[in-house]
């Protein structure tokens, strides 16, 4: 069976999959027990499965695990915890920026990736960066406020 090694949230992990086309999302959720990233569409259209690979936001439902070999993967669990949230997560908590929350992991990851590139992103820049992350509950306004809060801009 193909074997892949990569870093997940800072720890070296080795996984085996029967086929080399298994998406990273399935490996994270089912083999590594990291269920924060969600399956939304399997088509790269909604962003619910977003994780960081070497700091870039990627759709883990579309990325074969083979493509992550030797790279560094950060999932939502690797950012922070309810007790010690990452600053972006803390901003989301302050703004209560989740309803059902199914899109939340992906939205948080995409926001973290943006702010790593543009720590002082504007509202328009956040809107553009999150254009590929769908939210059905209509939490957008709070998410935008949370992202701006995380930039240090008063929302």
């Amino acid at each position: 069976m193909p074997t892949y090694s990569f870093f997940v949230n800072g720890s070296a992990r080795t996984v085996q999959t029967r086929t080399d086309d298994q998406p990273l999302l399935y490996v994270l959720r089912n083999q590594l027990g990291l269920t924060g990233a969600k399956f939304g569409c399997g088509l790269g259209q909604c962003g619910a499965c977003t994780v960081l690979v070497d700091g870039e936001a990627v759709r883990s439902c579309m990325m074969p695990v083979a493509a992550a070999n030797g790279r560094g993967v950060t999932t939502i669990e690797g950012l922070g915890s309810p007790d010690q949230p990452h600053p972006v997560q803390a901003a989301f908590i302050t703004e209560q920026a989740a309803q059902c929350g199914y899109c939340a992991s992906g939205v948080v990851m995409a926001t973290v990736a943006l702010l790593a590139r543009k720590p002082k992103a504007t509202r328009a820049e956040v809107q553009a960066a999150l254009a590929g992350n769908l939210c059905r509950c209509g939490t957008h306004q709070r998410i935008l406020r949370a992202a701006l809060r995380a930039t240090g801009t008063s929302p």
């Binding site: 027990g33 269920t35 924060g36 939304g40 399997g42 939502i76 309803q99 929350g101 199914y102 209509g138």
Partner: protein, 740 residues
Amino acid sequence: MSRREPVAVSRRAVLAGGGALVVAFSLPLPGRGQQPPVVEKALGKTLDPTEVDGFLAVNADGSVSLFCGKVDLGTGLRIAIPQMAAEELGIGVERIVLVEGDTALTPDQGPTAGSTGIMRGGVQIRQAAATARAALLRLAAARLGVPAEALEVVNGEVRPKEGGQGVGFAALIGEQQFNLRLDPQAPLKDPGSYGIVGRSMPRPDVPRKVTGRHPYIHDLKLPDMLHARVIRPQAVGARLLDVDDTAVRDIPGVQVVRLGSFVGVVAPDEWDAELAARALVTRWSPASSLVGHEGVPAWMRKGPFDADQKLVGKGDARAVLASAAKKLSATYYWPTQSHASMGPSCAVADIREGKATIWSASQATHRFRRTIARLLDLPLEAVRVVYVDGSGCYGMNGHDDAAADAALLSRAVGRPVRVQWSRADELGWDPKGPPQMLALEGAVGADGQIAAWRTQMWIPRATANLPNIPLLGPADAGMAQPPGIATGLISQNGDPPYATPNVEVLVHWLKDAPLRPSNIRAPGKIANSFAVESFVDDLAAQARIDPVEFRLKGLSDARGAEVIRRAARMLDWKARPSPGPGGLGRGIAYVHYKHGETYVAVAMEAEVDPGSGAIRVRRVACAQDCGLVINPNAAMQQVEGNILQTLSRTLLEEVTFDAAGVTSVDWARYPILTFPDVPEIMIDLVDQPQSPPLGVGEAASTPVPAALANAIFDATGARLRTVPFTAERVKAALAAARRT
């Protein structure tokens, strides 16, 4: 390699028993076979909603378990109902443990639908808490030898008002039953003394949701669980002719399950199940002949009809309209729409040894329990349905279908089975919000008020007392199910909420819907209000009266008038008739939800690019009076969600289908609102602490489409009467407006 427990957080929190509001998930913990202690201990308790013990229990540590038949669908009920109970009991909300929707633990409080979570479910639990508080006072009076009137309940302790030694809940009744009927007359606290209700307390699930720790149904794992995919028919109603499993035979552990025309694959590995579903070759009978989405309006006019029904008949609308000097008429159409949940439906079932346990994101676990018992021919006592959060559903999406799929597959393979739908399954096969058509006629009198009004509706008629909509898997498997359709209450709010001496509302009930329907957020009311409040604007424009003034003139309900004034004020509304001078337009719409619940007015600013037909919504202002507000921040979040989701439905959404089935099966073909198109939103909640709490989950969605249509009319003079407001429809309406 260790596997992380998906519910570890909640379990730790339960064990820690303090610090934050605890939500107990009665999920089995993989590898331990254990459940959170309060849940484990409570099994066997009464589920009687007329008993205090049905709803609450005092634990050994003095914390209080609440057993709630309503569930949090991402809606904030998880904080709001504990706030109501904590307030009434006299204990901190952080000492409440909430159990939701587990049929083995919670009373049947009906489906979490129709904005009834707080106004019915919460109010019922509040009354149980009030009854319990009175009992705690009596127990403490006996224990302390003082009259109950001299005692008060504070922070989980009953103590003399004068000061002195008190006694805690645990000492009074910890781990014992109240054995007390819920007293509908038990006195409630004066809202003026509230310290917990009315505060924007943070929702306990948000930290878990934004850190990836919140347990969703999709994350549940049981020992020996298999992953499954269901292969849905190639066309609606098609029968399975044969299955060729040659291509899947080399996938480890794969099993193909066929029951009539129901076919699924199960495998120990989820990706293997997915690969098997893709590789399995199935052959189906030819398609049934659906009308197709473009054929729906003509189909609605033609029937077959069940009956006509006059819902409102006041004065003589037809006669007055026939003799009116100036009469307007218009037809409005609302298309079939999907719940379009972000996560596809998912469920886990364990059907073995004559017992069934199902973990589901169902809005109605108790109802589904009865359905499953009937389908599997099991005694009701042998079936347990446990609610676990799903992706937001906004009505009945595929959650019950997926749970039935899992049940059929688990029974067939004798192991726990997790079914997850695909994106195409969800958009293609979730029961749909049905299409609606309305034809309106109206005339304004010399007094500048509506003199006569007539509404005709063409809508599918829901089957009376249908226990459950026919579910896909059992239908394909050839299992008997009570036939019928469900829609929610889709005929409400079809008449103007303004003084009108002559009104007729006539429903042409259709026997069926083009695609299997169900309730979708604010069922029917959104389309009806879209038509009514757009048409009110047309009448106001014809009479050359400002739209706000026109509405206020006909509105005697002070609470309704107040939300209209507040919404207009937020947009700095200047009185003048529509259309305006061009550029940025403004529109307003109002609803008294279901004719007797929440009051909402939405005002909106929008502009149109005449070249492209693109609509830009700038600002949305919403004023809402939903009576007593339990948690303002959570209520506002529902209002925001209503506004944005309904803008999405109005601007973008229509389920497209051909003769065989749904063709809008991904997010490219069923687009929804995205971040770049999010307007600024302003919300004003009217504070009504002395009034009963009303629903917030749906009402504010209702005026949104008409407010937008009215803003576009104000900006351009063009009137949009068909949803979604596509660029083509905008351009056609602009061209029509130029001609007149």
